[in-house]
């Protein structure tokens, strides 16, 4: 195995970990309070939501990679695999947020309003006037929805990039590349969720400023994982 065929997957896998970590910070999650509509975001844990979007992206990427004529060594094809991962993840998260929003608005009867900003940065709508006293916002306002879609796209690209890196290392059996990518994805998604520590509304959230810490942590851990994966690939 020559050195260039090691360096490229090493860079891809390390970068993928950093992108996955960054992507999680964009996804609006409110946990249990959001499920009761007393905080902004989707009512589930960061890890679960990021993992859901990531796995859909991974499956979309794997589906694209399995198409006849797709060569991993071709950069355009590798880009196509990553983009199909991004689209898969965006569809999953977009639908989750849409259905969640329908339940919030028509089921619970609340107005989507963000707590961490007075004016929605995208629509310029005032937010604080609509926040129910005693809550920290509710529903999934426009800025959160857009932020979530950006996060899903990044997560899909990251998952797809990890998958491409693994295929490039020679883990050509999709089952092995998939399982390794899932383990790798979970590690980075959880590191990101520990950086956030509970709820985040998206890129306008003050906690978003902590993102560099999480990205550094993921870069280091992904580099370690990539070195182990390269060691493993020598036995293929």
């Amino acid at each position: 195995m020559d050195i260039s065929s090691i360096i490229l997957p090493l860079v891809e896998i390390t970068l993928a970990g950093a992108i996955i970590n960054a992507s999680v910070h964009f996804v609006p999650v409110g946990g249990a309070p959001a499920a009761m509509a007393t905080s902004t975001g989707v009512g589930t844990g960061t890890t679960q939501l990021a993992a859901g979007a990531g796995f859909t992206g991974l499956l979309a990427a794997a589906g694209m990679a399995a198409q006849p004529g797709i060569m991993i060594s071709n950069p355009v094809h590798a880009l196509l695999i990553m983009l199909s991962g991004a689209v898969g993840a965006m569809i999953m998260l977009g639908l989750t947020m849409l259905i969640g929003q329908l339940i919030y608005v028509y089921g619970v009867g609340i107005v989507p309003a963000a707590d961490k900003c007075d004016v929605d940065p995208i629509t310029k709508d005032p937010q604080s006037a609509f926040i129910t006293p005693g809550t920290t916002g509710h529903g999934i306002p426009t800025v959160c929805f857009v932020s979530g879609l950006i996060g899903a796209a990044l997560g899909g690209i990251g998952g797809g990039m990890a998958y491409v890196g693994l295929l490039g290392l020679g883990f050509t059996i999709p089952a092995i590349a998939g399982v390794l990518a899932i383990g790798f994805f979970f590690m980075n998604a959880v590191l990101a969720s520990y950086n956030i520590g509970g709820t985040i509304e998206g890129f306008h959230d003050p906690k978003f400023k902590k993102m560099p810490n999480g990205v550094i942590a993921s870069t280091v851990s992904s580099l370690v994982a990539a070195i182990i994966l390269i060691g493993m690939s020598m036995g293929l």
């Binding site: 399982v179 899932i182 383990g183 950086n195 956030i196 520590g197 942590a217 851990s221 060691g231």
Partner: protein, 263 residues
Amino acid sequence: MSHGGGGHAAELFPETQVLGIGLVLSLVGMYIANFLPEYAMLIGGALTVPACVAGANTTRKVAAYGLGTGVPSIGMVSLGMGTLSALAAVYLPVAFGIDSMATPIIAVIVSLAIGAIVGKLTQNPVGMKVPIIVSSMIKLSLMGALSILGFCTAFAGGFSANVFIPGAIETGMIGLAFIAAGIAILHPFNACLGPNESHRRTMYLAIACGLLAWLVFAISKLDAISTVISAVLWVATYAMFVKMSLNDASDVLYTPELPKKEE
């Protein structure tokens, strides 16, 4: 904000003891499964249960500090690190010409290393304020790797690459090990946490969850003896857990049947 903060209930079983039992028994189980493939599911599967229980015990200890992201996240990071370590242990011997008998030992070493690095990273730069996070990450990574490797070895009938890859990876069984062992590690404390959490009750649920994971594998392998034994043991431990929960509850009220018509 913490979702998992239940405070510390009295610790009845020392953590190191539980971990030691989990480590030794699961290693013994893997070697027996490798050398006696006909008893792989019966003995190997049964002896992987202690690894799941040890993982659940460590989850209980670390999650009581309040992680800020819920208990399941630590179970998932445990299995994420565990999958990488378990697969590394299968592939590395082939890559470096080591005898495949070293596979479980390599799984231990790799998982300890990954756990230590990820644990250090959660402290700095991420800044988790849990004093035992590094040691707990190491233990969880170790138990995640042992439970995945244990169940997959029991299913495939060996841990050398030529048996493990077609038997447990290409059949997709490693995905089942990921989620079944994951539930066995993260669920017990997640279900029992709260002001009245007791170590004994959580441990009973952990054993029941571990046995349930074994039952799932026994059914997938169509191993009749293992299925019957694990099902009987699971029903017994789970019934015991329900009984303990009812005893520990201040009161158990059942919703009465609604009257047929107004009197």
